[in-house]
Subunit: 438 residues, 2 copies
Amino acid sequence: MPISVDLRLDPRWIVPIEPDGALEEHALLVDGGRIVALVPTAIAERDYVARERVVLPTHVLLPGLVNAHTHAAMTLLRGVADDISLKAWLEQHIWPIEARFLSPEFVHDGTLIAAGEMLLGGVTCCADQYFFPDAAARAYRQSGMRAFLGLPVLDFPTPYAADAEAYLQAGLAARDAWKHEARLAFALAPHAPYTVSDASWEKLVIYARQLDLPIQTHLQETRAELEQSLQTHAMSPLARLDRLGATGSNFIAVHAVHLLDSDIDLLATQGCQVVHCPTSNLKLASGLAPVSGLLSRGINVALGSDGAASNNRLDVFAEMRLASLVAKVAAGDAAALPATRALHMATLGGALALGLEQAIGSLRPGKQADAIGVNLASFQHLPCYDPRSHLVHVASRDQVSDVWIAGQRLVQGGVLTALDGADLAARARLWQDRLQSG
Amino acid sequence: MPISVDLRLDPRWIVPIEPDGALEEHALLVDGGRIVALVPTAIAERDYVARERVVLPTHVLLPGLVNAHTHAAMTLLRGVADDISLKAWLEQHIWPIEARFLSPEFVHDGTLIAAGEMLLGGVTCCADQYFFPDAAARAYRQSGMRAFLGLPVLDFPTPYAADAEAYLQAGLAARDAWKHEARLAFALAPHAPYTVSDASWEKLVIYARQLDLPIQTHLQETRAELEQSLQTHAMSPLARLDRLGATGSNFIAVHAVHLLDSDIDLLATQGCQVVHCPTSNLKLASGLAPVSGLLSRGINVALGSDGAASNNRLDVFAEMRLASLVAKVAAGDAAALPATRALHMATLGGALALGLEQAIGSLRPGKQADAIGVNLASFQHLPCYDPRSHLVHVASRDQVSDVWIAGQRLVQGGVLTALDGADLAARARLWQDRLQSG
């Protein structure tokens, strides 16, 4: 007797990531928000009856993309200060604006806009690291998007908190309020080694261990950060964090551009996670991360867009393409970081980095039904000799037609179903008016 | 009494390139295919009567983009061999396919698809360098697109010609047949210093001087090319071409990745043109061209997509963004190649490189009415503090809504008017079938 399921998807190709390949004549079956089976069409016909069936005749179906590092609310600062150095950008533009305008309302609205942008671009899960995580959590629940919320820790005051202890307590309170929400996960997110003291790191490492929370931090983004640490601490920032007990498989190093050989050894032996943000690293002239070298050492590398103030898109398609291009020139090898590897980084690599690989990152039965359809029908995407290569080197987020999270269709035919684009535009314009008149 | 004109365009912003800036409350007036005036809306109301008026309420209007280097017909090889080195890519994939399939029909169909893709992406003029330029010219006339056709010269045989003399004669015959076509221009396009002998260069330099034709060639794309020339000729490829009389303000060096200091001096003193192809240079791991250094020496630098077999999009928006990003990390300076400079390279820089700056490249009265509308309405492009920055760092070609060439509307609301997308897709599929069964 056929098995009854909620949903059957029949695309032109399925790229499940696990296993590698581009399947034709296959169907994905979903029930109760989870993937039930990925089988040849004939088997789907014979063994399953679906309440809803969606045919995607010219599309690739693949796991939802994971944006493993962003500051979602900073979409409100998109393009506010471009083409200047990281130091001037932070000190003369971003921090003064944040000091003046940061509020739960700012974070809610900015996060909602970011969630809408990411969903339309095929991103089903992001790791967000910003102030007022409670307000961000509200926005993510409204959007239907999956989020991994990094609870910020800093040693200097902002409108959100006064000192490291206050940040920790505010963050943990937000986590307590939202920890039963199925699509939210939490981590501690100390800003960086250079903005958080040893004492604060020691304290947050204890919390992380006791509460089983990952730690995500900006690490060795610029050469200056590495050099200052070598002068002040006589060791690299990573070595310092290792001494403070922060490293391990649930330690997520964002950027990791300027690494000593001993840092790479440490990342490998401790099984740390790395998030590569190629657009941000180029735009702020930080440098070229040694991604091929990290991958060849078996280190997991995920992809991140960083915030819209330093990118200025929250676009994992763009990051896949740029990661593949930059790795080739950085390694001097056109075979470095091929399309299949970039796709892995943007999906399962992201899930692994966030410790969510049991739930998302591939179209494996038992996992959450987070999947996206990418339409390659247009002549601009033809000929097509390998759809995996086209996903990285030809397509862009504008070809994403459909997005499901836990089986819920959040984008249909390129349109958001749970959010209203006109409302998001109005919120963006409102905040632009406030910032410009402020 | 008001002046009667064909067309009035009323966008939200106009970015004319000459002068720099983003004008609001301005209108562009067009008559007989040329720009008549760019004036404040009140002046347009008072002084002009237009037979057609197009309001673009959320759009930026800017000059059509110039793709200063491509091999248009190679769209039929899009994605046929990705993530491998230039040498293996050429010798094991591209050249064998070309030897087997190259024909006027191949070139016509591939060029037509490329023209459709470029028009939809806001490219109104391209410099194309490929075999059977007569077939390419037919495709460009059909498309309405402006093209600068490089007549190929090689010392080895292909299905197009047997030796350098035969290439030259075939190319010049194509030029004779099409030279009165208003939207076509011609150049000599010897493939590269390493594939064309001194004797052939000497001959083609004479033709170029006598017929007043520019010369476009691939130059110092890889380190190996530079090193081999230093060994074989005891000088760089550029120095060799200079000795052979090829350099000057109508010498267009494509790629120019690996340059000696003396090469940069030579480019500057001879007033040569450079075409930067950032995606292709990264994808083939060729290297990072010293673009900031060239610009600071006053050398004009245009942008090119290269062919779809090494990119795999003919997308000048992507090249603008990547050029800006790569220049920053190459120069170690986040202020390098700001958005306004990237826009200049993609428009007037391209026109200058091709010697067409009197006709196109900016929205200056007297020039051809080649203009594009880019719609920034969506919340994904908000907030918008500076539309010029958004054109480079936020928008993509998918936001191009309208394209005019010489006042003729070739894209309207994101749809081609003179070409049929379904027909182009059918041609692409036909050739894919042939290549895969061949």
